[in-house]
Assembly symmetry: C2
Homo-oligomer: 367 residues x 2
């Protein structure tokens, strides 16, 4: 698996709108899938019975599954956290379920992913230091139990660092988790609405503790401007639904920043959305056609936009890799960020989009 | 263009969910697009400015455009018919527009389609004989005017036969329209909710008047069982949104009839939806996976189902052609229809789906 790599999100066993062949054409080498979603639908046992997740979704490249922890804390209802594990109600039908460190390893083994994640407690960004400290301690205990259950398996089990926005806790978590000697480490609990400076400052607190010879994975980060910042701090792996989600909203990446293809200026634009882009969409269609599909809410719109945004990210990763190899990364980063405009609206949405309702969701009581 | 052929419907310049390369892989040789829809969005002039419809939607095979008449009579609001033409209000924003025979030829010329259609008056199935007679007369006058405006163009202009469910009027319309010597003829105003026996009986009244050396096109018909009946009566061309529309509802064609992929029996079915099918979907995914995508309302579901249903129709056309060439069509038809079950529900929906509200839509007063 070449790094740095970006993992598109295949929440329910599909990178929305695309088939595996298209992901490969775009240059995707590894994808992420969500244990939480697959557990609820179609059920872990269904996928196991059908030969595992690779076969189910016809993807023969590497798959990383998360543990389900993040979704339980952000998406599910009425979660209750205790040392044993976490109970939650399905966001689909309200039915009650339970995850423990042992169960999430078992689920991910049944799914047959190549890289699997430990169960972590991921507090909302406005959680008190005392509560985050508890989450850090629990995340460590859970990581240990995951490792124990995982012993003897061929899958790569990655540990997850937590610690919220508290430097001391980030360091504590990094030291504790790395002491368990995982083959890779993820940094969780960031990019949840905190200001960007805080994201990078937390990363700067954490990175020195992560061994450079193991993959370092920044969870839930995937905008062009954040990927370049992450790589410049030593991150190897990123996953995020952002490129595909904003694509379906008509926001397309260009070197100047995101553009809204629904805007009237595109109605008659004969050139592709991004003249420099080599994606299928830009090679085949005018911006005007894409504009039309979005205005008509045609399903093809979401597909073409998704292909473009994913290809933009993959090309960015390739450009970064080239720049690193040629020793010109600093100049590349500075050039890219000076051209790529992030609007106030995007900043506002990024801070708003996650977990504003989290206190209602999380009830830190006994299991 | 090989016949018999089935034209999938690309209402708004896209066969919903698919790209041109996929249509070709499926075996689609010609598509239909709707002048009415393209006139409203993005506008005929926009497509002309961008180099015509082929380039706009990146389809380099033949395109047939309809005149917009059918949509005006079935979809638009408050249409008023007069000898001069028809006025209507957009189903999107209520704005008022006008179509005349001359304008629809002009529009279709600007779109750059290969086959274009005359403007016809298409009455609802419950229209009185007197009104249908008027529509037949007007359709003839409009066909003449279209032919006049079209003179000197390279595009093939097809005439359309009307006549409702009245044998006498069907014959009258067929004689009148064929007297204008078009390079192809369409039969309109059928499959609008009338019992199937009536559809075939009207076709039987009409076909003897259509020259066998010109393509004969049955508009708006496209279920497997109807295509085989149509071909057995000499029809060469079919178009219909049915295969793609029912696909998006989870109804997939098999040799036993349509199946509803949402049903629980498919949740763990390892085989493809149709074991005999060579479409991408059946070659790649289990029925269980498709079931899951539909249950989760994943956008990929609609795309995979569309590919399957279109491929089913194309394979059916190929099988029919082979059977005709080998002189075994009668046996093939009988075998196929004895296996292919049409449920009462499908019959009920087919009779209900079109134009039950047509009297409210159509106001036969002066322009």
């Amino acid at each position: 698996m070449p790094t740095p790599a970006f993992l598109p999100v295949s929440s329910q066993g599909t990178v929305k709108t695309l088939i595996p062949e298209e992901l490969k054409d775009i240059g995707i080498t590894i994808i992420l899938s969500n244990t939480y979603h697959l557990y609820l639908r179609p059920g872990i046992d269904v996928i196991e019975k059908l030969g595992g997740l690779h076969r189910y979704m016809a993807w023969d490249g590497p798959i990383l599954t998360d543990s389900g922890g993040y979704q339980v804390f952000s998406l599910a209802r009425l979660c209750q956290v205790a040392d044993e594990g976490v109970t939650f109600r399905s966001h689909i039908d309200g039915s009650e379920h339970r995850l423990t460190p042992e169960l999430v390893v078992e689920f991910q083994q049944k799914l047959g992913a190549d890289i699997i994640m430990t169960l972590d407690e991921c507090p909302a960004i406005d959680t008190s230091m005392a509560k985050v400290r508890e989450a850090v301690d629990r995340t460590y205990c859970w990581a240990e139990r995951c490792r124990e259950r995982h012993r003897g398996s061929d899958q790569l089990l990655f540990g997850i660092i937590q610690g919220g926005i508290f430097p001391e806790l980030r360091q504590q978590s990094a030291k504790a988790i790395t002491s368990l000697d995982f083959p890779g480490y993820a940094i969780g609990g960031l990019s949840l609405g905190e200001p960007k400076e805080q994201t990078w400052s937390m990363l700067d607190e954490t990175m020195p503790f992560l061994p450079a010879d193991r993959p370092r994975y920044l969870m839930g980060v995937g905008s062009p401007e954040d990927i370049i910042e992450g790589i410049s701090r030593g991150i190897d792996l990123f996953d995020s639904a952002l490129p595909t989600r904003v694509a379906r909203n008509g926001a397309l990446f260009t070197v100047q920043g995101r553009v809204n293809i629904r805007k009237a200026i595109y109605k008659t634009k004969e050139q592709p959305v991004d003249a420099d882009c080599d994606c299928y969409t830009c090679r085949t269609f005018s911006a005007a056609y894409l504009h039309h599909l979005f205005k008509c809410e045609e399903l093809l719109a979401y597909r073409l936009a998704t292909m473009h945004n994913l290809r933009f990210i993959i090309r960015l990763m390739q450009q970064i890799e080239n720049a690193i190899q040629q020793g010109t990364f600093a100049a590349f980063k500075s050039d890219f960020l000076s051209q790529y405009q992030v609007t106030d609206e995007e900043v506002r949405l990024a801070q708003k989009q996650k977990w504003l309702n989290s206190p209602r969701h999380c009830d830190d009581t006994a299991l």
